[in-house]
């Protein structure tokens, strides 16, 4: 058995060629640049954007805001809009109050149509006293019958009044009562102090 002659050149080690390395660096750099650039553009676009609405269109929001402000108008303390009632209703309509979505959509449309027919202007553009008079008609259900089907005007009024109260007087953690506006208005000591009463164990 003879001795095999040795190859004087070392075997090629598997690795990355210079060309491949340059390609990888180029692709990585381009990726980083694209990531930074795209993020900067998106961040700049959304910066300062108002809180998005989850349910209402801008037109619906304007109409509902004017309606709710009639229910709890602002004076030296915030009214419904400033206290975030619209934020509350908008948030709850895509959550626990989702069953009222149809009522709001149809009711606001009926309100807009009623305002246009009776006064020739969108509800939100009416003068305050005229808005008050129209809200009163909605409450009593004395609106043009052909413009209100389901919900009826009075049913719409009742639900919006309920939700306005909830948003105004409820805890801010549900989306309304911004800055504890209603608690301040009522002079409510909040957070309320509970303390322990040291009940004996047998009284539970």
């Amino acid at each position: 058995m003879g001795v095999q002659p040795q190859d004087p050149t070392p075997p090629a080690t598997p690795g990355v060629s210079r060309r491949t390395a340059i390609r990888m660096i180029a692709v990585g750099s381009a990726g980083v640049a694209a990531g930074v650039g795209l993020t900067a553009v998106v961040a700049r676009r959304d910066r300062g954007a108002a809180r998005p609405r989850f349910f209402f269109s801008p037109r619906e929001e304007a109409t509902l805001a004017a309606f709710c402000e009639q229910l709890i108008p602002g004076d030296d303390v915030p009214g419904a809009v400033e206290a975030g009632v619209i934020d509350f209703i908008d948030l709850q309509l895509v959550g626990p109050h989702s069953r009222f979505q149809g009522l709001y959509r149809a009711g606001i449309l009926s309100l807009q149509n009623t305002s246009l027919r009776l006064h020739g202007l969108p509800f939100e553009d009416l003068d305050g006293p005229v808005q008050t008079e129209l809200v009163s008609r909605v409450e009593k259900g004395s609106c043009p019958a052909d413009l209100w089907g389901d919900p009826s005007a009075s049913a719409f009024f009742g639900v919006v009044l309920d939700h306005t109260r909830q948003g105004f007087y409820g805890s801010p953690r549900h989306g309304g009562n911004r800055g504890y506006a209603s608690y301040r208005m009522m002079g409510l000591a909040y957070p309320n102090l509970i303390g322990q009463n040291r009940y004996p164990a047998e009284r539970g």
């Binding site: 381009a30 990531g35 801010p172 504890y180 909040y190 009463n197």
Partner: protein
Amino acid sequence: MSPMARRRLLLVGGLYAAGFLVSAAVGSLGYFHFGSPGRTCASCHEMTGAHAAWSGSVHSTLHCRECHGGSLTLDAHALGAHVNRLVRHFTRAPGEVIRLREEDVLRIQQSCRRCHPDTYAKWASSGHASTYARFFLDPAHNRAERMAPDCLRCHGMFFDGNIEDLVSTPSTSGPWALRDPAKAAEPAIPCTACHQVHSASPDGRLAHLYVRREGAHFPLAELPAVPLTSGGAQVRVSADPRQRLCVQCHAPNAFRLAGTGDDRTPVGVHEGLSCLDCHSGHSGSARASCAACHPADSHCGVDVERMDTSFHSKASAHNIHSVSCGDCHGGVRPARR
């Protein structure tokens, strides 16, 4: 092109595409990690309030990542939360309320410690550094009083769950055990229970009360002054706004009777004093506090620190918070010596 060559081309192309996407993600996260908070964190409307508060605070020289951690992280939860938030943002889904988990609160506490080691050491020596085990596994207390969700109002205000998630038997019969044994050694009243890092106080103090129910901090100025009575008379409570914070947890019973429940509002000779007149804010210590007001001797010529009060001995029947001259002088105030 042979099938083999096509496969190879596809594989190489896929690898480059994947590399590009990963690099883009790193670039995007890097932008948030190193960028100015005003151009990054605050671009989400959910963060504008927190950013505005931080901008006006004494901590505005610190970058968000100093306390909240950076975007360039391998923390799966953090990355998942970022992606989830992005998806919600672009799909306009109702945003989750962005709130610190207890784990985050404790991590932030280590940032507090880095910059405020002395204050941290004082807090660590105080009763306010007590652990979950100390508060919730005290047999004497647990036999006397049923655990309730409201315990977490002051003990474990950042706990991510309800009392049933914390203690296995929230009744008076026991046995009591923490569902997660690791919580036993965790502090139940961390720095942020009484401090809002983002807020500026006009007087430079940052004391706020964290109200678990609301998931929000209340500044001292917004905390209500609690009217108290003692023996049918109105108690003169200190006007020190910090007193309003203490009484939120060191609270009287529902009838607002001074000295009931956990209330320690001074009555008797010390009526009108603030807790902070005698107790250090962070250590809670009242040692050597008498000298701040009393000369060597008291009104009646006795060294106040040696008097028979709970300041001198915890066994004393005369609680320092309610002691009056008459306690030792048969109901009569002695003449000045």
